[in-house]
């Protein structure tokens, strides 16, 4: 059913009894598939959607060990932006931003994309220069960026602690097209659109191994719901990438780390857009329900636990209090942790694996949400054409071997510093 003001009015007249499920909960097909995507999060479902929509492949399945959107797609802070500095990254994230801008029309689904702006604060002259450089790099790649002085920031967010003795707010780098999107709606929108094009979404179906032929090529997956044959298998399993490829005897340049996030009780609208603290790691936005959604650094040690520890809770709250003391009166309602696949240079991998038939979409670190549309688009392009999409040519697995790293932060092969 197409969603519109007319379908809404029609359903309202019939007491909303006619709404069907948004997507089909499928069984694994005996005949197998052209492509099986492992991982029913945003990236996996977007990949399946673009495989069907752009490349005409409809014998596609997405298998998910739990329920769709129950992993990192439900554990992020919903920020969308394309404010990267390096040539390998920025065209990709800007492509993603453009896809976000047309997403709701494309999917006929309200993903609540809200371009309220992303403001990165700077607190010193050298930091202003670094942000100016990044803003210029963004503009060279067709993204928008504005360097605000202190008065410009004050007009937007007057409640900051501008005169903080250690970290006075000097200005900020603003991307007006950045903002937030509704994480669950992104998952459901892609699932609905993919399902309508014939993609099978198979839940409660955990990967337990790979089917291989005599040459060692991957020809399908073993799952808790039986073997499923596939022409190609694409992995989009975020923090579990290392565990998934270990089933095929592979190792990745990835460590899994826990990233915590927090939400406060609901408040009246107060934070316009996304604001990030430049002297510590703290970022905040306000959800449509009114909760302040905020976070900071990863905990810094390998983890699959989906929960973090108190030192980072303290650090995040201290960062928040340093930049906007007014939030000290708000109570934290919930906190949670997601498992981020931290690559060794802080950038993702969309590439073939060393095994024929097995393809990788991994290493998103703590920044995968904003990449969802482009990640799906580029992974689908790779799976369908076996050549990388023009915006994702740098995300190669062999860059660690060849030295062509994409290290935005310039800290080297130490995941807990990215």
């Amino acid at each position: 059913m197409r969603y519109s003001i007319f379908s809404l009015a029609r359903q309202a007249l019939h007491r909303h009894r006619g709404w069907g499920p948004a997507w089909r909960d499928a069984e694994p097909a005996e005949a197998g598939y052209d492509v099986v995507i492992v991982g029913g999060g945003g990236h996996g479902l977007a990949t399946a959607y673009y495989l069907a929509r752009v490349h005409g492949l409809t014998r596609v399945a997405v298998i998910e060990k739990g329920w769709i959107g129950g992993g990192n797609a439900g554990r992020n802070t919903t920020i969308i932006r394309s404010n990267y500095g390096l040539p390998g990254n920025e065209p990709f994230y800007e492509f993603s931003m453009k896809l976000w801008e047309g997403l709701e029309r494309e999917l006929n689904y309200n993903a609540m994309v809200s371009q309220r702006g992303v403001l990165n604060l700077y607190h010193s002259d050298p930091q202003r220069d670094a942000y100016a450089r990044r803003g210029n790099a963004m503009r060279l790649h067709g993204a928008d960026a504005e360097l605000l002085d202190r008065d410009g920031v004050r007009a937007m967010v007057p409640f900051l602690d501008f005169e903080n003795a250690r970290f006075p707010v000097q200005g900020g780098l603003l991307q007006r097209r950045g903002g937030t999107a509704r994480h669950d709606a992104v998952v459901w929108g892609y699932a609905r659109a993919a399902s309508a094009l014939g993609v099978d979404i198979i839940q409660n179906c955990e990967l337990t191994g790979f089917l291989t032929d005599a040459s060692g090529a991957v020809t399908g997956v073993e799952t808790t719901r039986g073997p499923i044959r596939a022409g190609k298998v694409g992995l989009a399993v975020a923090g579990n990438s290392s565990r998934a490829v270990a089933l095929a005897g592979l190792t990745l340049p990835i460590e899994s780390h826990v990233l915590q996030a927090f939400v406060s009780e609901g408040l009246k609208p107060v934070i316009p857009g996304v604001v990030t603290f430049g002297a510590g790691h703290f970022y905040i936005s306000q959800s449509d329900k009114g909760g302040l959604v905020f976070g900071g650094d990863i905990d810094g040690y390998n983890s699959y636990a989906q929960r973090g520890n108190l030192p980072v809770v303290e650090d995040v709250c201290e960062g928040g209090m340093a930049v906007m003391p007014m939030i000290g009166r708000a109570r934290i309602l919930r906190s949670w942790g997601g498992i981020a696949d931290m690559s060794m240079d802080g950038s993702p991998i969309i590439d073939a694996s060393p095994l024929p038939g097995l393809w990788l979409n991994a290493g998103w670190c703590y920044g995968g949400f904003k990449a969802t549309p482009a990640s799906g688009y580029c992974f689908a392009h790779l799976l369908a054409t076996e050549t990388p999409h023009e915006t994702a040519t740098a995300f190669r697995l062999d860059r660690f071997r060849t030295g062509r790293l994409i290290d935005e932060k310039g800290v080297g092969a130490q995941p807990n510093l990215h």
Binding site: R243, S256, N302, Y304, P311, M344
Partner: protein, 85 residues
Amino acid sequence: MRIPCPFCGSRDSREFVHRGDAGPARPADGADAEAMFDYVYQRANPAGLIREHWYHAQGCRNWIVVERDTRSHAVSGGAWPGPAR
């Protein structure tokens, strides 16, 4: 988390710096690029027990090897790196 430092005893994890998996061993001088690639970049990244290097920066300033479960954060051991002493 509390980290059992073999010199200082059980201490709060925030006194320590986490370096990462203690498994990879630095290749001998003159090893080929492939061995260095494995050492610098490739990680087993286990879901379960891991032995890792922690540095007691705000304590005795020793490097130690901690055994920990990445699924629960339960710490089961702390020892000196290298041969037993």
